[in-house]
Amino acid sequence: MRVECSTPRGVQRVTGVAHWDPARPDELRVQRESEELIQRRESVRVDAVVPGLLIAVEGQSARAATTTVNVSGTGLLVRDPLGLAIGERVRLELELEAGARPVAVEGRVVRDAGADAKGLQFEAVSRGDQDRLARFIAERQRAELRIGRR
């Protein structure tokens, strides 16, 4: 079996043998056998309209309110009111939870998806914000699975 988590650089994957004890049904103990970091995008990407503030890091530091189209642990697709260029560095503050401190990610524009949408690849996310993003994505994924099973 495999245990995977998303990082700004890709997917960290631990492969091992799982041990499950009926006395502890919610717990899985994994004996680690190998580990790898997969650089290409293989992380889960969920459709999510998250409001946020998009800031161009270079030049005049233009900023504008925006929303995401989808989100993963390594990047996202975002509406771009600033007309960003491919390769431009940006900071994005995402309001994942109402009233909570925004999740801040820094990254680079890597794709022009048309219709004013740009693909961003993360380059710097704090460990705490990475955890909050991963939790958000996992919950969205669970919700999508629940809907798919109905």
């Binding site: 245990v3 988590c5 631990v14 919610d26 717990e27 680690r32 990475q130 991963a134």
Partner: protein, 40 residues
């Protein structure tokens, strides 16, 4: 072995759906996961 970079992970087991899980503890040899992931 490097520590997992997030507490929130995906478990992939052949013939099952992928499952969200939380890392409860880990060492170089073992990772203990909780499958009882609660909504935030």
């Amino acid at each position: 072995m490097n520590p997992l970079r997030s507490r929130y992970v995906t478990v992939r087991i052949a013939a099952y759906d992928s499952l969200p899980a939380v890392v409860e503890s880990e060492t170089d040899r073992t990772v203990v996961l909780s499958l009882a992931v609660r909504a935030p």
